[in-house]
Symmetry: C2
């Protein structure tokens, strides 16, 4: 749970306000978010499909990160009135707009990995 009046929260809020990078990090910086975004760049996926395709992720974290991405408008969640239940996740236009950024980050990261 977040404590809005902690120094930590206040510092973070102020950094987010003043810095687009920090704000971007709140959107894509969660433990499993880059992986989720990459998965969804490949197309729409169901909850269980994501769960099985991402090694190590727990249901709680999957649901939590998806909820955040949805709240931030990067991901759209669609429930189909079927049995058994079917819920699909896909990137919104905003989510798609992260693709170039993810690519840039990935390239920069990988280039820094290979060094003496």
């Amino acid at each position: 749970m977040r404590k809005l009046t902690s120094t930590n929260a206040i510092n973070e809020a102020s950094l987010v306000r003043n810095c687009g990078v920090v704000y971007a990090l709140t959107l894509i910086g969660g433990r499993w978010k880059p992986t989720l975004l990459f998965s969804l760049l490949g197309g729409t996926m169901r909850y269980n499909q994501l769960l099985k395709s991402i090694p190590g992720i727990s249901e709680r974290m999957l649901a939590a990160q998806l909820r955040e991405l949805e709240k931030d408008g990067l991901v759209k969640r669609t429930v189909y009135a079927e049995v058994p239940q079917r819920v699909e996740y896909e990137l919104t236009a905003l989510g798609m707009s992260a693709a170039p950024l993810l690519r840039t980050m990935s390239e920069w990261g990988n280039s820094l990995r290979e060094r003496p």
Copy 2:
């Protein structure tokens, strides 16, 4: 302190290994790192100068984030044999190479901020 055998650490390590984005986030994702990088993009700065120019940062966090940036090769620390002590921080070539990425992130972040 880090506990190398926690599920958390294992998950993180595996994500870092498989994903350049996650690796990039370990380099620039700390609370104060984007701000520090932006400050240092403006040129060499001393410890106290950074401390005073970044509202809210504590000495512990400043020193810690600088040490991480230095360990990762993004920042160079130079000690001058003077009295009183003088320590300067500047970006390395690797640190400079983050500039386009920071700009991209900043633009993406700021563009997402303005929405209905």
